[in-house]
Symmetry: C2
Subunit: 334 residues, 2 copies
């Protein structure tokens, strides 16, 4: 089943079929209809390889997914499916790369013209892949924000502002001592952007609003969360507001608070940062900054498509955080 079969069936030349399909030259309505009918009748699908060879466009993009510990998997999947769905909306498919493939993997798929561009996730402040991305012959978009964005295209939630918004919300409610329950220690150690920026924004806002603040990294296992929570209560008994930047920690933390005799929000205010799904799993419903994974994935794809169309978008796109007040935060107990 080739393009020449379609052409014969429609009584035109192969190039005409090609132009009908690509719309790159004007075709008379009558011919267009006839060709499209033949395409449908024969169930013609252009050969992807031949197309890629002739047009030097594969209509595939690569998505490099992190597989490391400390990454909350459901959020990852939200990103991935959003990227795939958006890409399909732009006539592109998605090739899956793992972080383990690293820089060589990026270079391989790009240099072999297997993909038209690359989306990379889980960016560290000083990510080793960045110099590779800069030297690639095809465009790329980062979901996340490294320290130096020169010559890159990045999209992310403004985690600094998110940390700040959470702290200010607690300050507005009159809290004086607040804590950030963060990501697992390893995430900070490898200087992952979103974790570090949340922390920065949180601490800065706390300082500016005259609150004492403490930060506790926290592993994802319920037992670890319980231990961290109890330690917080023990070592910082006057903390009345907690920001949780760690999705799986929210529920165990709320339970540990109750177990420790602290009622939420009466005795303790809890503010989360994460996907909206969190809310449905939580009692009481969580005051939180939502992480718009779906929108971020879509934006990343759009930006990449812009670059494929030779539009050079701005280097950094930061989505402003939206904090939704629900029932887990309240005024400081007097």
């Amino acid at each position: 089943m080739r393009i020449s079969d379609v052409a014969r069936h429609a009584g035109v030349s192969p190039s005409t079929v090609s132009y009908v399909l690509s719309g790159k030259r004007s075709i008379s309505p009558a011919t267009r209809e006839r060709v499209l009918a033949s395409v449908a009748a024969l169930g013609y699908q252009p050969h992807a390889g031949a197309r890629a060879l002739a047009s030097s466009r594969s209509n595939v993009i690569a998505l490099m997914l992190p597989l490391r510990q400390g990454i909350h998997v459901p959020v990852l999947m939200q990103f991935a499916t959003s990227v795939v769905t958006s890409a399909r909306g732009h006539e592109h498919d998605v090739l899956l790369l793992t972080q383990a493939e690293g820089e060589d993997g990026l270079r391989r798929v790009v240099d072999s013209s297997m993909v038209d561009g690359v989306i990379v996730m889980d960016v560290q402040m000083d990510d080793p892949r960045i110099s590779t991305l800069r030297s690639l012959s095809h465009p790329s978009v980062l979901i996340g924000l490294p320290a130096d964005t020169t010559g890159l295209t990045c999209v992310d939630l403004d985690f600094d502002a998110a940390g700040q918004a959470c702290a200010e919300h607690l300050a507005d409610l009159g809290h004086r001592e607040v804590a950030l329950i963060g990501q697992p220690p390893s995430v900070y150690e490898r200087r992952t952007g979103f974790a570090e920026r949340t922390l920065t924004g949180f601490e800065r806002a706390a300082r500016e609003r005259g609150m004492r603040s403490v930060v506790l990294p926290c592993d994802a296992q319920p037992a670890a969360v319980t231990a961290t929570t109890n330690r917080l209560f023990r070592e910082n008994p006057n903390v009345t507001g907690v920001v949780v930047h760690n999705e799986p920690a929210v529920t165990p933390l709320l339970e540990a608070a109750v177990a420790a005799g602290r009622r939420v929000p009466t005795d303790l205010s809890v503010v989360g940062i994460g996907t909206d799904e969190l809310v449905t799993d939580t009692q009481p419903p969580l005051t939180m900054v939502s992480l718009p994974a779906e929108e971020l994935g879509g934006r990343a794809v759009s930006l990449l498509m812009d670059k494929l169309d030779d539009n050079e978008p701005r280097e950094v796109t930061l989505l402003p955080p939206r904090l939704t007040v629900r029932s887990s935060s309240a005024a400081r107990p007097s």
Copy 2:
């Protein structure tokens, strides 16, 4: 950077370079070395599209991932990464398709020769994609087991035997009334193979061993698990053994049991079915049948590669369940 550049650099013809790279004809060691040195020196990567066009092999496989509710996402990711890693071990890349693409998506990527084969997950007993898979011009492998496997290649854990093993373990411990806490109701409603087969094996073994059994589907939210657990204790107070085939339910269930005054394993034995990671999140360590997601993904890829090499493997590969006894199960309280 083309193959002819490499050829010139090495002082041979393009076809010789091709044969060096593919190993399909014998090449003298001296020439091979020289060519490989040129490839390395120039950083040559063959053009994927040209290669696919000429060889009618894309060296890409498609993986169709389910995105439905009721699927435990971390397990999904284990499958996905295992498939990607294994595929790379066979010189293949992985194109990501979502369930939403459905049969049209499968046909599109296959008919356009974008992929050499397909791996499909989350198979239902009577899956609409199956007839499409049978009619495809390229091979496919299912992770999961539909009702009719004629002409297909399937690999899965033997969930029937797993359900049976769990029931028998409880029977061996002297339990008389047992329960299965299962997947969300929607999973059974759409007749997903692994859920249904576990249930069948569990009930059959319970019957054969003279135990009374009850089955409760269960949603994944902690609150729903707690409610289900409490209902179980209320309506079936004599149940002393529980099989949990629902990963996120395990921890809330254990907590609910404690809250209801039942000590595990003294008063209540709990047996799980799921990935080994469960164990690390659990107190006490869980007696369980492990779901070898990694091995299943690897097997699926191997089977697909066999089919690409024109070896027709057996239709059904079921991995035997391995039940590991830990501290969550014990003899029935007397």
